[in-house]
């Protein structure tokens, strides 16, 4: 099980990267952490002509906290996210999701940007980014553009990235008011891709939820924003009926398919169970 032959290059700057992308076009793949890509190469599921290794681009690495936002560079390793005080303080949802991401050896190597750009709908980080209304920073020779996470994921393993573009990182707004968060996941074994996972955040005051954002992984061709369910909760005092209504609303939000072990209907059921658990966590210490 050896990869088909390809050539390899490690640019020293983004400018060089854009040159290489231009030169090699569709036959090129960008290599970040490689934790999905190299497996696909070994299995000959993917046979690119050229691998462009981004790991020399220091400017794409690291976590930066500004007055209004937190930026995560595309090459930031999962392990760095897991350990980051800044992430823990400002993006606790991501902090909570990290232990669910694969296994230690994978987290040491895998990157934030790799996970986003690969766009596996069952992965944790894309769902977190949608729940947190992140924006992705995309660079190309033409310059820089920003895309909202909810617009970025176009289809199964499909993103808004165009030829010649490189995902540079993600930006998250610093919320003035502290919000609550919950990350819940069901996987058959620890570290497996989720059957279903939910990333939820909301503010709560006097038992009323506001600013509710919920995203699911594993429940459609992309990470799925659960707008209807969020709307069913937003501005309401939490009650069993409200929760049940939100759970029922997931039918509008999610588009699960059958997988090897579960039917779509079962996955929808599990999504509803997880939503209930996420709400319970968001509203901990509130009686209803």
């Amino acid at each position: 099980m050896k990869a088909a032959a390809f050539s390899y290059v490690k640019p020293r700057s983004l400018a060089e990267t854009f040159d290489l992308l231009e030169r090699h076009g569709e036959g090129a793949r960008l290599l970040a952490g490689g934790q999905s890509l190299i497996a696909a190469l070994n299995m000959r599921l993917d046979t690119p002509r050229v691998l462009i290794d981004l790991n020399g681009l220091k400017e794409l690495s690291g976590i930066r906290v500004d007055r209004d936002s937190i930026a995560i560079g595309a090459l930031t390793r999962h392990r760095s996210l897991e350990l980051s005080e800044d992430v823990s303080q400002h993006l606790p949802l991501i902090h909570a999701a990290m232990p669910f991401v694969a296994h230690a050896a994978i987290r040491n190597r895998g990157t934030f940007g790799g996970s986003i750009a690969f766009a596996d709908p069952a992965a944790e980080l894309p769902a977190c980014c949608i729940a947190l209304d992140a924006r992705f920073v995309i660079r190309s020779r033409a310059g820089e553009r920003r895309v909202a996470a909810r617009e970025f994921f176009k289809g199964l393993y499909e993103t808004d990235l165009r030829p010649g573009e490189v995902l540079a990182g993600g930006e998250f707004a610093r919320s003035g008011v502290p919000y609550r968060y919950s990350f819940q996941e069901l996987a058959r074994r620890h570290g497996d891709y989720a059957i279903v996972g939910v990333a939820a955040c909301a503010r709560i005051g006097a038992g009323v939820l506001s600013g509710v954002r919920i995203a699911f992984c594993g429940m459609g061709p992309t990470p799925m924003l659960a707008s209807a369910a969020a709307a069913a909760l937003d501005g309401r005092a939490c009650s069993r009926d409200v929760i049940a209504h939100a759970q029922a609303s997931l039918a509008q939000d999610l588009a699960p398919f059958d997988d090897l072990y579960q039917t779509a209907a079962t996955r929808m059921h599990l999504a509803r169970v997880l939503l209930g658990r996420a709400i319970a966590q968001l509203t901990t210490d509130y009686e209803y």
């Binding site: 099980m1 032959a5 290059v9 490689g34 934790q35 296994h103 230690a104 040491n108 190597r109 620890h190």
Partner: protein, 166 residues
């Protein structure tokens, strides 16, 4: 390193403390490089798609799956394998604990299991049994019931906390 894409590249790295220079094919993964080029066959291939963990080595001090890292990516890196980590330090303590508890049978998963466990012992010596099980859940063992492994790691964590690993 050139910014022209190439089928083979010259790399220089440190493997188990010794400098190594080789010209390698771009497609060669680090596990095959260690095994085939350097004869470091203590690193095993169990799946070559990044699931079984048998190819775990340390790159720049952190465990990685060497089937998911290209040899060319290790240019300039410090790579450590079971051959270089044996007998002393955390891995040595784990080897002794594994031996005493028979925390291995066929031994195919063992070098990688030791390296994975060593990272936990060093990062989180207060790990509970559940923590140990979760941390090792990326390393497949078909022979043991995992319990002897967990027992051995637990003992070494305890010794590490007590400052007992030299």
């Amino acid at each position: 390193m050139s910014t022209e894409a190439a089928d083979t590249l010259e790399i220089s790295l440190q493997v188990n403390g010794a400098p190594v220079r080789r010209r390698v094919a771009s497609r060669l993964h680090l596990a095959d490089f260690l095994r085939e080029e350097l004869g470091l066959t203590g690193t095993h291939l169990g799946c070559e798609h990044g699931v079984c963990g048998a190819c775990t080595v340390r790159v720049d001090g952190e465990i990685v799956r060497s089937c998911l890292v290209l040899a060319v990516q290790a240019d300039g890196a410090r790579v450590e394998t079971i051959e270089g980590l044996s007998a002393a330090g955390t891995v040595g303590a784990l080897q002794r604990a594994f031996h005493e508890r028979n925390a291995l049978q066929c031994g195919f998963c063992t070098p990688a299991m030791l390296l994975a466990a060593a990272e936990l012992v060093e990062r989180q010596p207060d790990a509970s049994r559940e923590d140990i099980r979760r941390h090792l859940s990326g390393n497949y063992c078909r022979c043991t019931g995992y319990q002897a492994i967990v027992d051995a790691v637990e003992v070494v964590c305890r010794a590490h906390r007590a400052g007992g690993i030299r």
